[in-house]
Subunit: 790 residues, 2 copies
């Protein structure tokens, strides 16, 4: 692989100092003069029609500046998710939310909002709002909800043609003849996998500050992962031109994991509506409980798999069906199963494939995007099936995967080519790290209370949404008169360190030191359109756009410098901020050396050779400035995609008396192409694996059957692994340049969370010699499986 | 001339609503959480060395967060003016200011600053700072200051080689042989013109709010007219990369008239220094008195003219010398006399020309840029000389000007061509409006107390600084998915309405309605480099850049639309936001019509013909968005300049008993090429003329000879004309497209203030039959001239 000066180094994250000193500014920190505070009244009922609302007492409370209900608020239909923005042909997002609706559909659904001088007054005002509810029957289970006799959540939606409580068309993928292949297979494995919804539990809850300028322009600081799409959504909702709205991250966002692709639930819309009503800046911050009950979850649901193989282990058929629980509103519930199918039908070269996925409305919290976007659900199911098939055939599951895994150049169901694929190396290195050869040894003794087992899984993902969704990116680069470089990008750094990686790519593509590159980001006024921080797309899609802008700037610099030394641009090189001839023989006038933009009296440029054989970008930029030139580049994403590949191996011990599972080690081996910043990549792997441990073992959202209330509404009840729960993780990367990615890089954000749970479920199944088919693997479930009699 | 859809119309100013409702946000309105307040300690002495400062009592005062003096503040040499930024060859600005210096050079010079929790605490702290001054001799008059025996203000400056207290090289212009031509002339007129310094008196005083982010990035909201140059200056002063500073207008600036080209005096530097010291946001707002005593004035001084002519009125020689009063620091005092010479040697086609200009340090308030930038001073002198010559030759001064005025294509001393020139029409129309034919009639009766007279003047100016200084401009244009257009420009609207005119040019060049164009401006993070709001350059230089960006975007739109209808881009047209074929026969699929970015259920596009013969930009933009495309254009100024021309005629009555002059009417006739917004142009003329009336009749800054204190330090004492003093003004434009300007337009900002005072002085001289040769024409001066015995 090529040697690079800046990329491939673990440059320290640029946000570190601000974050560790508490100076980093988040939406919660945004305070404007005259700003007032908002609180939201939420439904106590899972399903009800609002007969009437009397807000007069709340409005009369001193210090209250605005009270909004469905009776006095714009009622545009929208989706808080940046659902895939109307395409002239094909896929349309489902719009089914209003700021406030006359029907509430889950416990926590928004009924009204108050803006007042203080949070306390606002809270008091909420209690003065009298709502007369007509309580309706409700349904919590998607299988139930799908039955025609079940109550309809959105009875008047035209998209419901696809099934009762099923809006939007299902995704179907078909290749070959699965039924015939299954009938002809030597072995067929069937399984049903059950999944609970889980929460992203990002550090910062949803929040927004909205301000209406005198001109009518609306400024919004928010926790969105996608400033430009959020702006477009607000324009749609409030029926004003996009250009009259400015959406900014402040610039920091305390994590996202998909929870705020588009709007931050209803934080922005309620803040804007209240700001328009009160003509004062309004801040709305969700409490943790509000975040848990009223913002998107990961879809739970049920998946069914049938897998057919020949005796020799050749996989011949795969049939996967997914019915996901959408919750009360659609959000990304209309797109997510596309990923479930596409990703998990692409792992193996199987001639006969079938997938059907859809999701169903229920009176629970809306499900949406969460790191992996439907991929982990399918991976749990397919990778469980692979291990079951290996057991059935008496094969090593590693070897079964090796034999069938998709190869580079393989013809798979993804709408982009597989032009890089190091999955075989990933399997080799992961197996080595976990000590896969000990699997038989661990399995030999099934007598003790503690049983050890190994399991694995492989996965792929995308490097942005291209061809599955609208997905593109842009960037501006300007060189300042002092040679420092501004990179303006629409993408926020939501905690991934991506802005360090993007700066590295800009520095590399330009040929300047990282220290001279500065980022401006996530402000819709400062940047061209971009799709935001999600879909593993930042380093890849955004990296391509930034590198393109940098190359345009570099070319302009070299052309200008060529004029200074009488050579041609292609004879010159820019490296580490210095322009020189490739042959070392350029002659730049020495008088250009380190001149000052503002030349203090007595200033004398440093002495040295005359003419010079090299000249700094700073000197070129200042000369250009004096000649009325600034180097400006605009980069756009040239529209491509590439699959990252990975294998995750788990070593677990199951306590057969308590049902408790201990993760001894995870080896996570990733082919993400060229690694731009190894330290950041390591962080992605550690974070993804730990989220996967929580998904496998402890995390879930439940609902009380009688009241429809969520049972896990605080961090105390919702058991995410904490820093103290970190397990032994071996983060491994296999670097193989991808031909499409910037500097050979591929997406790395979500891929790390696709397989860990699958590997743990497989390892626990292996330890117990049982087929575990749900997450989380609660002790209760594990014990019930151990004690199962049939 | 071509017909345009958007330009040439008096589109209402976009800031009107915000301004009349008091919602427009100025620097004074910027308030940040935790913000503290600054006050400045100023020298009571016109010239002193600071022996010592004891700030300990101030520092100990509760609520004081930082006290800065020359002892603890970075001491970079700089200029508050955006003095012409080091050129690799040639002209260098003079840097002679420090934030705080150990020598003070005028009454009001900065000694120390305090930031405290309240303004009151800061004011109290100022009084606790003990300064031990060694009082030095001082000099107020430039003629005195130039003498070698006079005290040197900046004794150690290497630029002082040009003369005692004269930094920077004088400007000399030479053509032909003036001495020989004067000797051979039939008539020679000699005169000396004396000018007092005057103030811009912009509505908003100097101010800045500075904030240091946790990352070290510095945000500055300020009253600067030039955000990008101000950023470069701050980077120089605080020795950090330009890219680490963001300078913004908030976005409004309450006028400028040149007073804050570069920094807003020391508002930004002191606010930034205090923010760095206290690590809190700091606001500093100058009082009106501080604005008057410690921010740049218009140069006073003395000009000498010798003018030679043949009997027939052919001008043969012009010799102009300018010695201007620089004040205590150089500011633009090094550049301004270039304009004095270049502009006023370009009015007439005279074969023998000489000009020498320079300026001299004195212990008075620094002089700098003020609308016209040295031009009015020269114009008063030359145009007075022309009328004196006409009287001497017995010719009508209008005819003398007609005969000698520079023609289109003329070879003059300006470094850009004269490719448009309607000065003859301007003279015809102005003379008609003022009733020039009545001049003899008014002059016939010299018996009454009230004497009426007519006078006139002609002038030229530039349309930006190109070729005299570094001057360039850039713009970004992006089309949003909803078809609305964002124009991002580095130029602020300091009250001229230019952002309405710029939006008009963008709309015209693109081919969209003005309503769909929105401006983002004056934020260094959002925009590429631009030189700011000054030098009559906005409509011209910035218009060229914006129109270039718009044309790039337009071309991309047409190319994209061509793909939608199977035609070639050059066969299509974009007008009023609709794309159609020039032959009317394009076929766009009807399904593109008014689709929605977020398509609500049940949405059906409007019915109508299929295929369509035209399609909206909105529909094209949305389709492009769905295909991962955004139309982005970058425009840069292609570096040109053009001279606007104008004539001003004045009708005055002089009361010979009181010396009071009444302006009966001013006819101001302007050739500014194509007028982009007639209403704005009218505003420019009315404002310029009224400032000229003040300059001619009442405004001046004086100094007490014994203390060096300014005598006019409040609005009460400084007699600017108010709205009630408006005179009868006939604003006339002669439109003739300039071949270089955008849509034929030329600069119009400063040109309106070049001639009014000259015309009034000439009219008053005509009324009295005397040669008045100073401004202001105070009653005292007029009476002294009437009563002069020799």
């Amino acid at each position: 692989m090529t040697d690079y000066a800046v990329i491939g180094r673990s440059a320290p994250r640029r946000d570190t100092l601000e974050k560790v000193t508490g100076q980093a500014r988040y939406t919660l920190d945004v305070t404007l003069p005259g700003m007032i505070h908002a609180q939201v009244l939420r439904s106590p009922w899972p399903h009800a029609r609002i007969r009437s609302i009397d807000a007069s007492a709340a409005e009369a409370l001193p210090g209250v500046r605005a009270v909004l209900t469905h009776q006095n608020t714009i009622n545009t239909l929208f989706s808080t998710a940046a659902t895939m923005m109307a395409l002239p042909t094909g896929h349309q997002g489902v719009l089914d939310q209003r700021i406030f609706d006359s029907t509430v559909r889950f416990v926590g659904d928004e009924v009204a909002a108050v803006a007042a001088d203080t949070l306390e007054i606002a809270a008091k005002a909420l209690k003065l709002i009298e709502v007369d509810y007509e309580i309706l029957p409700f349904v919590l289970d998607p299988e139930e909800a799908e039955k025609p006799e079940s109550i309809a959540l959105h009875p008047d939606k035209p998209e419901l043609q696809y099934g009762h409580n099923v809006p939007g068309h299902p995704v179907e993928i078909k290749r070959g003849d699965v039924e015939k292949a299954l009938a002809e297979a030597d072995e067929v494995v069937e399984l049903t996998f059950n999944l609970k919804p889980v929460k992203q539990m990002q550090m910062e809850t949803m929040g927004a500050v909205a301000q209406v300028e005198g001109s009518g322009k609306i400024n919004v600081w928010s926790t969105t992962q996608t400033t430009h799409p959020a702006r477009a959504q607000l324009a749609h909702i409030f029926k004003i031109p996009t250009s009259r709205i400015r959406v900014m991250n402040p610039p920091y966002v305390g994590g996202g994991f998909g929870s705020r692709i588009g709007l931050s639930a209803k934080a922005e819309v309620i803040a804007v509506a209240l700001a328009l009503a009160s003509r004062k800046p309004v801040k709305l911050t969700y409490t943790r409980t509000e975040d848990m009950i009223a913002t998107d979850t990961r879809h739970g649901g049920q998946l069914k798999l049938r897998l057919g193989a020949k005796k020799d282990g050749t996989l011949t058929a795969l049939d996967l069906r997914a019915r996901l629980n959408k919750g009360a509103y659609c959000s990304f519930g209309h797109e997510i199963y596309g990923t479930t199918g596409h990703m998990n039908l692409s792992l193996y070269q199987i001639p006969n494939l079938y997938f059907k996925g859809y999701s169903v409305y229920t009176n629970t919290t809306t499900a949406g995007a969460y790191r992996g976007f439907g991929n982990p659900q399918g991976n749990l199911t397919v990778e469980r099936g692979i291990e079951m098939m290996a057991a059935r055939l008496g094969l090593d599951p590693l070897e079964l995967r090796r034999k069938n895994a998709t190869q580079k150049g393989g013809d798979y169901v993804l709408p982009y080519p597989c032009d890089s694929n190091a999955i075989q190396s990933c399997m080799t290195k992961g197996a080595e790290s976990i000590g896969w050869h000990k699997r038989a040894e661990y399995n030999a003794d099934k007598s003790g209370r503690l049983r050890r087992g190994l399991g694995m899984a492989i996965g792929t993902h995308y490097s942005n949404g291209f061809q599955l969704i609208v997905d593109y990116e842009s960037a501006y680069i300007t060189v300042q008169p002092d040679g420092s470089v501004n990179v303006a990008t629409p993408i926020s750094d939501i905690g991934t360190g991506c802005n360090t990686a993007v700066a590295q790519m800009a520095a590399e593509a330009l040929g300047v030191p990282l220290e001279s590159v500065f980022m401006i980001y996530a402000d819709t006024d400062s940047t061209p359109f971009g799709y935001g921080a999600h879909s593993s797309r930042i380093v890849y899609a955004h990296g391509i756009a930034v590198a393109a802008a940098a190359r345009e700037v570099r070319q302009k610099i070299l052309e200008y410098a060529a004029g200074l030394c009488g050579r041609r641009a292609e004879e010159l090189d820019l490296k580490c901020g210095m322009v020189r001839a490739k042959d070392g023989a350029a002659s730049f006038p020495a008088e250009l050396r380190r001149r000052q933009l503002f030349q203090e009296p007595g200033y004398a440029p440093p002495s040295g050779p005359d003419p010079l054989t090299e000249i700094s970008l700073r000197d070129v930029a200042l000369h250009a400035h004096s000649q009325n030139r600034q180097f400006i580049g605009v980069g756009q994403d040239p529209l491509t995609n590439s699959p990252p590949w990975h294998s995750v191996f788990a070593d677990v011990t199951v306590d057969t008396e308590t049902g408790q599972i201990t993760v001894n080690k995870i080896a996570a081996c990733h082919d993400v192409g060229r690694v731009i910043n190894p330290s950041n990549m390591r962080g992605q792997i550690l974070g993804g694996v730990l989220q996967g441990v929580g998904y496998a073992l402890s995390e879930q959202l439940g609902y009380e059957p009688k009241t429809g209330r969520q049972t896990h509404t605080t961090m105390h009840h919702y058991m995410s692994p904490t820093a103290l729960d970190i397990v032994d993780i071996d983060p491994i990367t296999v670097e193989e340049d991808d031909p499409h990615g910037p500097f050979g890089a591929k997406g790395a954000g979500e891929t790390t969370l696709v397989c860990p749970a699958s590997a743990i479920v497989n390892a626990a199944s292996n330890a117990l010699g049982l087929d575990l088919t749900q997450v989380p693997l609660t002790p209760e479930y594990v014990l019930s499986m151990i004690n199962r009699t049939c």
